[in-house]
């Protein structure tokens, strides 16, 4: 038997052992991806911002944040927040500007993640006009609506007499009766801001 044939046989045995080792010794672990953590944390931050914009109480919002984290950790096995710090939790409303801002830095097993939810409404110009059919007097305000994700996908007004229409870029037109004391603007995520009107004093 020549050397080559012997070497070929030895190499075949070695390859067979190598393939067996490769297949039998490897264990596959499915890891919880960071994308899911980020998605869940963004959801929590927006949910807290939405809650804060309704209750306007920082302490209640903090408790709500904690509840959200507990529920998420309880039902998602791979999700774990080691600690978090609230960078900003603001709710403000006046005649010219209204905003809700929640910014939280979460510390997770893979690192830190800063999640933010913002809705800012700023009045640029107000004019008065009357409906020729009903004689009712309205304010027409040109407003800027901005969010942490740029232009909001849509916004709606509350109560029903408040209408918001898109103009261009971040500019929207807000129309409401002069008798109204508070115009509520809600973005597509459910975050609300309250704009005090001229008649609110």
């Amino acid at each position: 038997m020549s050397y080559s044939v012997i070497a070929l046989m030895i190499s075949l045995i070695l390859i067979a052992i190598a393939v067996t080792v490769q297949e039998s010794f490897v264990e596959r672990f499915y890891t919880w991806p960071t994308e899911v953590d980020k998605g869940l944390l963004d959801t929590i931050t927006v949910n807290v911002a939405s809650y804060l914009s309704r209750v306007k109480d920082l302490e209640m919002a903090k408790v709500f944040l904690l509840k959200n984290l507990k529920v998420t950790e309880r039902y998602n096995r791979g999700f774990r927040v080691l600690n978090y710090s609230i960078i900003n939790m603001t709710v403000y409303s006046s005649q010219n500007i209204a905003l809700v801002n929640v910014t939280i830095v979460y510390n997770l097993l893979w690192g830190c993640y800063c999640s933010s939810a913002l809705l800012l409404v700023k009045v640029l110009n107000i004019t008065e006009f009357s409906d020729p059919l009903t004689g009712e007097v309205f304010y027409k305000a040109i407003i800027i609506c901005s969010t942490d994700r740029g232009k909001p996908k849509f916004v709606k007004g509350y109560p029903t007499s408040v209408t918001v229409n898109y103009l261009y870029n971040n500019i929207w037109v807000l129309t409401y009766p002069t008798s109204l004391k508070l115009a509520i603007i809600e973005d597509w995520r459910g975050i609300r801001v309250e704009l005090k009107t001229e008649s609110s004093g």
């Binding site: 020549s2 050397y3 080559s4 012997i6 070497a7 070929l8 030895i10 190499s11 075949l12 070695l14 390859i15 052992i17 190598a18 393939v19 080792v21 490769q22 010794f25 490897v26 264990e27 596959r28 672990f29 499915y30 890891t31 919880w32 991806p33 960071t34 994308e35 899911v36 953590d37 980020k38 998605g39 869940l40 963004d42 959801t43 929590i44 927006v46 949910n47 939405s50 809650y51 914009s53 309704r54 709500f64 509840k67 959200n68 984290l69 529920v71 998420t72 039902y75 998602n76 996908k153 597509w188 995520r189 459910g190």
Partner: protein, 128 residues
Amino acid sequence: MNFTLDSYVATLILVVSLTYFAHSVLVSLPRDRHCYDDSLVVLGRLLRHYDFQIAIYTNNLALIDAVVYSTINAHHDYYITIVDTETKTIVSEHGTLKLSSYLVSVTLPGWNGALKPRTLCFRVGVRG
């Protein structure tokens, strides 16, 4: 000692096979491989666009379709089941039934300023 062509060929074969053997054993030494489930990665990406949460909580199946197909590959399909986590009842099921096994699940805590957990069981796969 005679160094013939045969011995050179034999040495070459042995060197190649030994290298392959050593490489295979060294690669397998850590004994584990970490990998991600594609469906879970896609679900995570979907959650970063708030339209998906709106669609889940308003049970808007057309919007779920639009949002999911805007993210996944054109040759892929999906299956989703939305479960009310507290009552353990299925709110809705949608997508290709063929993909209804080996689902990954993620639970959302709530939406629109309310604590209302919803579990999403999801799978993305090749169409057909």
